[in-house]
């Protein structure tokens, strides 16, 4: 192989290595791109902010929507987690409060974060939580049991086709990693 050809080959190889490195960066760039796209399309709203104050809605007495509650803990999170009622009928526009209970089973402090999820996903924007333990990291002292009220309202603009909304919480153990 002539020296000139060798040089040409090495130059091309270097350029292609740079392309590969850029693509590695692109893989990471997909993370913020995904977040932005989800924001724009209103998909997958992760930790939605609370309604600032109790916004007043016209209560729709004539309509009933069933709201269900699901509680679970991730993997080995050492909490007993339950809710006072599994489901309730609500009138859109009216504020309700429901109590969740969690008990720390360990004789030491546990920090845990609850992650909410609403099904069906498209009904999410019509379900507002004004007060929720999921807004911040929860600290449980040794064997402590907590009562955690959630105050919510279903926006009367909720399309007619939604009869049932399921609110699910999963507690994740964050005792050992609390930076976030």
């Amino acid at each position: 192989m002539s020296d000139e050809l060798k040089r040409k080959n090495t130059t091309l190889a270097k350029k292609l290595v740079i392309v590969a490195l850029l693509m590695f960066g692109f893989g990471y760039a997909l993370v913020p791109i995904y977040d932005v796209l989800c924001d724009i399309t209103g998909q997958n709203a992760k930790l939605k902010e609370a309604v600032e104050a109790d916004q007043a809605f016209a209560v729709d007495e004539g309509r009933e929507v069933s709201v269900e509650f699901v509680t679970s803990v991730n993997e080995s999170t050492p909490l007993d987690f339950r809710v006072e009622t599994r489901s309730m009928k609500v009138h859109p526009g009216q504020y309700y409060t429901v109590n969740f209970y969690a008990k720390n089973n360990l004789p030491q402090q546990v920090k845990a974060q609850a992650i909410p999820s609403i099904t069906p996903g498209l009904a999410e924007e019509f379900f507002k939580k004004v007060q929720c333990f999921c807004f911040e990291l929860q600290t449980f002292e040794a064997n402590e049991e907590k009562t955690m009220p959630v105050r919510f309202v279903v926006n009367p603009k909720l399309p007619e086709r939604y009869k049932t909304i399921t609110l699910s919480y999963t507690f994740f153990d964050r005792t050992n990693n609390t930076e976030n």
């Binding site: 192989m1 091309l12 292609l16 692109f26 893989g27 990471y28 993997e75 974060q113 976030n180």
Partner: protein, 537 residues
């Protein structure tokens, strides 16, 4: 095209030396033919390793209930079978063919970067050995499926970081191989070998190499995110820290969908090389084949979410990915019709390579049709994660990629060894494979439509009959592949006699490798051949 070849036995060619003696030849070699051989032999060994894992899976599924292995090991087997077959067998086999054939097809003396070529092979071996070593680690090998979805994959035992690092090594090896292919094709072509005169195998590999450079780094990034999620407190995919497991699926399939085309595009290339020779006609629609390959490669980047129709995409997303996926059927259809038109009114003969290639055209088309069924988003909810998809992608991989790799083996073995393989046993191998592969995979369509989920060691009783049929097919298919090993060894030892340089009738008109002596000398085209422009043949 036809070619006039410069004299090869240059008597004054003093720097032209033969291979090193002994085992060292294979370790330090930078010769494209040696490295091609290493890749092909390694791929064949891995084909049997991955095949053994498949037979463990099929043994367990022979009857309902748990007979042989525990469920975690079963899941390790499905995961490792896929990883070994994809990264250890099919991809290296095509890299081996690329190493052997691309320089000889474009009239180059060697690959552009011979030392990197050697390194990428040994990196592959190290990566696969590291992956295999996870089988013996505490907690077992990865068992979350080859897609390595979190959060499940984060529960892998001690093997987790080793599996991730082995993926890194396999990725780096593929990228190096791809860079080498691109540099060879761009810089090393003989004078007169324009891009649109290159054999289609070279074209498909050029496009495949670009795919590899674009996607392997993204996969490396995704698994690195898994690694940091598990060990360094990041929350890319961890809901507790604001991450999302679905994000992993998006990144993975951005890699994963082009990845399946990395395995099928060179397959198309070999089929387009073999079919014209045995039909004794030029390839029908050469230019359209090139553009179709490019179109398929481009589309592969914009359809990834059809693997995730059930994760809760917005309706607009489902529709977009559905229609974009359906578009792929058009360039693929162009190819199938071109192969058929190439055979139309040709003077066909049916030697083993041609038999495998015709079976490929028929069976790959079936795999393509089930793919089209699954592209329909609303019906995909029924097929998702069932045996229907297992049947689909095995039809596009086994009777497509593997059959074509076998065809390539039979087609070029005489050129590599200088001897003819045993045609009778070759045809026996073909018929056993072609029949058993359908016994193996066709019933899996029925199982999937009836609702049998994939990746389960035990199943409901109503699935028993077809599973038994499928397992019987698997054993016939698996053991008949041993015939291929016998034929390869037999051919190296002399086979059924010496062959001419051209081997197949008029093959020299189709591609340059048939103009050098058989077996191909250690160094070919040290002086570039003169390419005589002819009408496209």
């Amino acid at each position: 095209m036809s070619a006039v070849v410069a004299e090869h036995d240059d008597h004054h060619d003093h720097h032209d030396h033969g291979p090193e003696k002994g085992i060292l030849r294979w370790i330090i070699t930078t010769n494209h033919k040696d490295i091609g051989t290493l890749y092909l032999v390694f791929a064949l060994i891995m084909f049997f390793v991955g095949g053994t894992m498949a037979l463990i899976i099929r043994s367990e599924l022979f009857e309902p209930g748990l007979q042989f292995v525990d469920p975690n090991f079963f899941n390790s087997m499905t995961t490792m079978h896929a990883l070994v077959m994809v990264f250890g067998a099919v991809m290296p086999a095509f890299v081996g063919l690329a190493n052997w054939m691309i320089p000889m097809m474009i009239g180059a003396p060697d690959m552009a970067l011979p030392r990197m070529n050697n390194m990428s092979f040994w990196m592959l071996v190290a990566g696969v050995l590291l992956l295999a070593s996870t089988l013996f680690m505490e907690g077992g090998a990865p068992a979350a499926g080859w897609t390595l979805y979190p959060p499940l994959v984060l529960q892998t035992g001690k093997a987790f970081p080793f599996a991730i690092f082995s993926v890194h090594m396999l990725g780096i090896s593929s990228i190096m191989g791809a860079i080498n292919v691109i540099a060879t094709i761009f810089n090393m072509r003989a004078p007169g070998m324009t891009l649109m005169k290159m054999p289609l195998f070279v074209w498909t590999w050029l496009i495949t190499a670009f795919l590899l450079i674009a996607i392997m780094p993204v996969f490396a990034g995704a698994v690195t995110m898994l690694l940091t999620d598990r060990f360094f407190d990041t929350s890319f995919f961890d809901a507790a820290g604001g991450g999302d497991p679905v994000l992993y699926q998006h990144i993975f399939w951005f890699f994963g969908h082009p990845e399946v085309y990395v395995m099928i595009l060179p397959t198309f290339g070999v089929a387009s090389t073999i079919i014209p020779v045995f039909a004794r006609k030029p390839l029908f629609g050469y230019a359209s084949m090139v553009y179709a390959t490019g179109a398929i490669a481009f589309l592969s980047f914009i359809v990834w979410a059809h693997h995730m129709f059930t994760v809760g995409l917005p309706v607009a997303g489902e529709l977009y990915f559905m229609y974009a996926t359906m578009l792929i059927a058009i360039p693929t259809g162009v190819k199938v019709f071109n192969w058929t038109a190439t055979m139309w009114k040709g003077s066909m003969t049916f030697e083993t390579p041609m038999l495998f290639s015709i079976a490929f055209v028929v069976l790959f088309t079936m795999g393509g049709f089930t793919g089209l069924m699954m592209s329909v988003a609303p019906s995909d909810f029924q097929y998702h994660d069932t045996y229907f998809i297992v049947a689909h992608f095995h039809y596009t991989l086994v009777p497509a990629s593997i059959f074509i790799l076998m065809a390539a083996g039979y087609y070029w073995l005489p050129k590599w060894t200088g001897n003819m393989y045993n045609e009778k046993i070759g045809q026996l191998h073909f018929w056993l494979s072609a029949i058993s592969v359908n016994i193996l995979f066709f019933p899996q369509h029925f199982l999937g439509l009836a609702g049998m989920p994939r990746r389960i060691p035990d199943y409901a009783i109503q699935f028993a009959d077809w599973n038994m049929v499928s397992s019987i097919g698997a054993f016939i298919y698996g053991f008949s592949q041993l015939l291929f090993v016998y034929i390869v060894i037999d051919t190296i030892r002399g086979g059924t006699g010496k062959v001419t340089a051209e081997v197949w009738e008029d093959a020299g008109k189709h591609s340059l490798e048939w103009t050098v002596p058989s077996p191909a000398p250690y160094h070919t085209f040290t002086t570039p051949p003169e390419i005589i422009p002819t009408e496209h043949f």
